[in-house]
């Protein structure tokens, strides 16, 4: 009898543990689905649902903002619903200014370090853009693709790269392109308690109002999605990480997601967090999870 009780309780304990192992992403998955629902509701019929677009004119809602936009379309950012911006975007994309960068990224990937090795030792596969950031359960920290690239350089006795542009953006452009060609999707995992905590930290940071302007990322990219700031419509959190690095006309060159994050953080009126900080990495982990299941679509262009 006693043995039976022990056996049963052991079984219960084991199943509880395995159940738990599969459920570290329960909250994140709920959050993601709620975000998809909100965005799809917003764009189901802008002309009818004016309350989502308090600053837009009737004409704008009728002629400019598309309706029936689905989550999968949102990887294109505001060009998913801004039909005028989309025309310009399509024009530029006829001769994409990032093509050379992809080729240069491929060269960097195969180029020998001083020790004779290459990036292939660290990244045997190149269609990996959707697998980052991941939570390293040994180091107990979020690892972004940018960090993994710099870690690889350092491990091979090389100097770290600038995380905002240049070689970093080029190699990431190559990885992103390879991932897109292979039909890869964003596939972020949350597989431990610590990983779930990192996700929660990132989520809280994203929704927290900060800086002297008292804005949160969500003010502009969740509630603000589809609202206009001067000539630009603000893009959705959903799909934000699928297409980096981007060639921005304003920058005149290719930049990483970290570069964009720092810029937007600064625009909130806060001394911006470095792209390599724990804060930024956790925000990126959260943002990337929100895009889970969307196709990798980079590199791309933005205004």
């Amino acid at each position: 009898m006693l043995l039976k009780v022990v056996k049963i309780s052991a079984l219960v304990a084991i199943s509880a543990c395995t159940l738990n192992a599969g459920s570290f992403d329960t909250q994140a998955e709920k959050d993601r689905q709620a975000l998809v629902k909100y965005m799809e509701a917003k764009f189901s019929n802008p002309e009818k649902n004016k309350s989502f677009f308090p600053y837009s004119t009737e004409d704008e809602l009728k002629r400019v903002i598309k309706k029936g936009v689905k989550a999968a379309d949102l990887a294109k950012g505001s060009y998913a619903y801004d039909s005028i911006g989309r025309e310009q975007y399509d024009d530029i994309n006829e001769m994409p200014p990032y093509e050379d960068a992809i080729d240069e990224g491929e060269v960097l990937y195969g180029k020998k370090f001083a020790n004779g090795k290459t990036f292939k030792e660290c990244f045997p596969k190149t269609d990996i853009a959707g697998d980052y950031p991941y939570f390293d359960n040994k180091k107990k920290e979020v690892v972004t693709l940018t960090q993994a690239i710099n870690d690889c350089l350092v491990a091979n006795g090389e100097k770290k790269w600038n995380i905002k542009k240049g070689n970093m953006a080029k190699l990431e452009a190559y990885f992103s392109h390879q991932s897109k060609e292979a039909g890869k999707k964003v596939a972020i995992k949350i597989d431990s308690k610590e990983a779930a905590q990192a996700y929660e930290n990132g989520k809280k940071a994203y929704y927290t109002q900060r800086g002297y302007l008292k804005l949160s990322c969500a003010t502009c990219h969740v509630q603000g999605t589809g609202k206009r700031v001067r000539k630009e419509y603000m893009s959705p959190l959903l799909g934000h990480t699928t297409h980096f690095p981007v060639f921005r006309l304003k920058w005149g060159n290719l930049g990483t997601l970290e570069r964009r994050l720092e810029g937007c953080n600064k625009d909130e009126g806060e001394n911006p967090h470095k792209g390599s900080s724990k804060w930024a990495k956790e925000v990126l982990y959260f943002m990337s999870y929100m895009s889970n299941g969307l196709g990798i679509d980079g590199p791309d262009i933005r205004k």
Binding site: K37, Y38, Q209, G211, A218, Q223, G269, N271
Partner: protein
Amino acid sequence: MKTFNKILCIAGLSTLGFTTVHADLLSDAAKLDVKQACDVKANGIEAVLATAAKYNAEAVKLGVEFKRLGVTNSNYIKTTTEAAKAKQKEVVLKYKKKGKVKTHKMATDYAAWRSCSFAIRALQQQVEAESTWKLAVPGDGFKY
């Protein structure tokens, strides 16, 4: 039982004491009236700048320091403190933009007020966010 609880409580609180410096400054800041605490005429510029320095150090630690038009609040405090010591009526705040050094000029008293309000507001916002951030999350507090 009661005394045991008390002992536990004291033991608990004294260990907490070491770890709650953050919480203390945060809750101190939350209680402040910015207009009063940062009033240069009423408190004198040295006191206002000291208040700014005290709370801004915490904002820096928490990663919530303000920055306006290229100038961090630390920069405001440092430059304004120097100007106040030298009895200058105007401060010249330097910052870098695209590798070039640029400047903003403003009245020293005004810069002191701003640095103080920025320091306190950064912490107050952090405290306020604890109860407001979820109100913006779809599927949680955000209703549409």
